[in-house]
């Protein structure tokens, strides 16, 4: 029987980490890191885990220590947020290219400046090209479930890539919600133990990790890394299927909410999906055929599946909680639109940058987006593709 509890997002992730009982957690113990290492260090102090907890002096060191321990053969996890993630930047790429399946919980908060500590997606969106798998979570339950699945996804021998589990700062990280936890032994059985093929502490076959790799071989190593990301698509779905058998909760590349006969739809990530679903329900009551897609897997990007999922719409809005400053749409929009070129070329598509720096996103804001979509569906015309939703002007 599942265990009913009420936990904040940070607590939920820390509990998942306790149940996973990783070999090493190396984390920066104060802000801009999160409460996750704080809660977890309590489990360490109480003897609830076997983990070696390394409180490091910076986020750069946190990821460096994670790379060291994962190379040595230890299952390794950490957590961070915002500028902490930014300070990890250099090492994120090294973790991914060294094919080290570290699991990192990212509490999505705005990158300064101007200085801001509240929720948007500029931190993890900036890391989207670092070679990490990225899973996004609507609420505490999904954060908990995704952290558990992330271990299996990253460590799969066809993948061997690090995984970021991203959830919204404060909205999810600090809000206490009802949650269904799994029994400790169920989680332990699900994640199993970590058996990398090669690792530094394997005495019989010594290896070198992270050597200089120049023109003759670097290119081939990158191609191999790309293959790991491609392979992860199947693994993500397989792990989700197995997880569903155990936990009863269903996961895929994205969630489709009332999309079957939808004419107008929006694409969102993370907690805004919760707000938007109530708007969809209200609109459906009024006879508007509204639908919603919530992306769970942003890296690898499910081009074909997502492109096909929106192909029946009369108008689509893509919501970006960060601006990539391409001067033409945020990062989610650019990838969605690229997918649509192959699978939904004729669907008019509009982009909204919204909620930056923790600006509240209310049901009214989302309702306005659907109202705009109604007009676009009617006329087939998008007046302005790139918009800031609700900014004062």
């Amino acid at each position: 029987m599942a265990i009913r509890d009420k936990l904040s997002g940070n607590e939920a992730v820390a509990v998942a980490m306790r149940q996973i009982d990783p070999d090493v957690v190396a984390a920066f113990p104060i802000t801009p890191s999160t409460e996750v290492p704080q809660y977890f260090s309590q489990f360490v102090a109480d003897g609830k885990v076997h983990t070696e907890f390394v409180p490091v002096e910076s986020e750069h060191s946190a990821m460096s220590a994670c790379i060291g321990s994962e190379s040595a053969g230890g299952r390794t996890m950490t957590a961070t947020s915002a500028n902490g993630l930014a300070l990890m930047w250099e090492m994120l790429y090294i973790a991914a290219s060294s094919r080290l399946p570290i699991v990192l919980s990212v509490v999505n908060r705005a990158l300064s400046g101007p200085i801001n500590i509240h929720n948007d997606h500029s931190d993890s969106m900036g890391a989207r090209d670092s070679g990490w798998i990225q899973l996004y979570c609507e609420d505490n339950q999904e954060a908990y479930d995704n952290v558990i699945q992330a271990i299996r996804i990253g460590e799969h021998p066809d993948v061997n890539l690090p995984v970021m589990v991203c959830f919204d700062g404060f909205i999810t990280s600090h809000s206490v919600e009802n949650i269904e936890l799994l029994e400790d032994d169920k989680v332990k059985n699900f994640v199993g133990s970590y058996h990398p093929k090669e690792y530094l502490l394997k005495r019989e076959t010594p290896i070198a990790v992270g050597p200089l790799d120049l023109q003759p071989h670097y290119f081939e190593h990158k191609r191999s890394q790309a293959e790991g990301m491609t392979n992860s698509k199947k693994v993500i779905l397989d792990v989700a299927k197995e997880f569903q058998k155990m936990a009863g909760r269903e996961y895929g590349f994205f969630e489709e909410y009332r999309m079957d006969d939808a004419e107008v739809g929006i694409i969102v990530l993370n907690s805004t999906a919760g707000t938007a679903k109530t708007v969809v329900d209200d609109l459906r009551d009024k006879g508007v055929k509204a639908g919603l897609i919530k992306i769970r897997v942003f890296r690898p990007f499910p081009f074909e599946e997502l492109g096909k999922a929106v192909s029946g719409l009369k108008a689509l809005a893509v919501m970006d909680k960060s601006d990539g400053f391409a001067a033409m749409g945020g990062p989610v929009f650019n990838d969605v639109r690229s997918a649509m070129f192959d699978y939904a070329k004729d669907v008019p598509c509009i982009n909204y940058i919204y909620g930056l720096g923790g600006r509240d996103v209310r049901a009214d804001d989302i309702a306005k987006v659907y109202a705009d979509l109604g007009k676009i569906a009617e006329t087939g015309k998008v007046k302005s593709t790139f918009n800031y939703l609700g900014v004062r002007e």
Partner: protein, 103 residues
């Protein structure tokens, strides 16, 4: 190339499918397989007649290119010597000269 047993031998023809993932090197000492002698601009010439077998050059060579057998220097490994000249600097007896590689 070394006669040591290798788990993977990197060559300029190695494909991405066969190479170890993540840039791992699976064999200790595989630097032996990479012939770095062609990086050299200046070349050490060993004069056996002036050599006192003092072994001052041997430990300073960063590329393990001073060849030694039974405690005695026997020559220089030009496949790996990068021509840094540290050996010539360390030699107190003028037994190693650095000359232009082109000569």
């Amino acid at each position: 190339m070394s006669d040591k047993k290798r788990r993977f031998v990197f060559t300029p023809e190695s494909t991405w499918e066969e190479m170890p993932e993540g840039g791992l090197i699976l064999d200790a000492g595989n630097a032996d397989d990479f012939l770095t002698g062609d990086w050299r601009n200046i070349k050490p010439i060993w004069h056996e007649d002036k050599c006192k077998q003092c072994m001052l050059c041997y430990p300073v060579c960063p590329d393990s290119s001073i060849e030694v057998e039974d405690g005695k220097m026997t020559g220089i490994d030009y496949d790996h010597c990068k021509g840094c000249g540290v050996c010539a600097h360390a030699c107190k007896f003028g037994a190693i000269d650095m000359v232009d590689e082109a000569e």
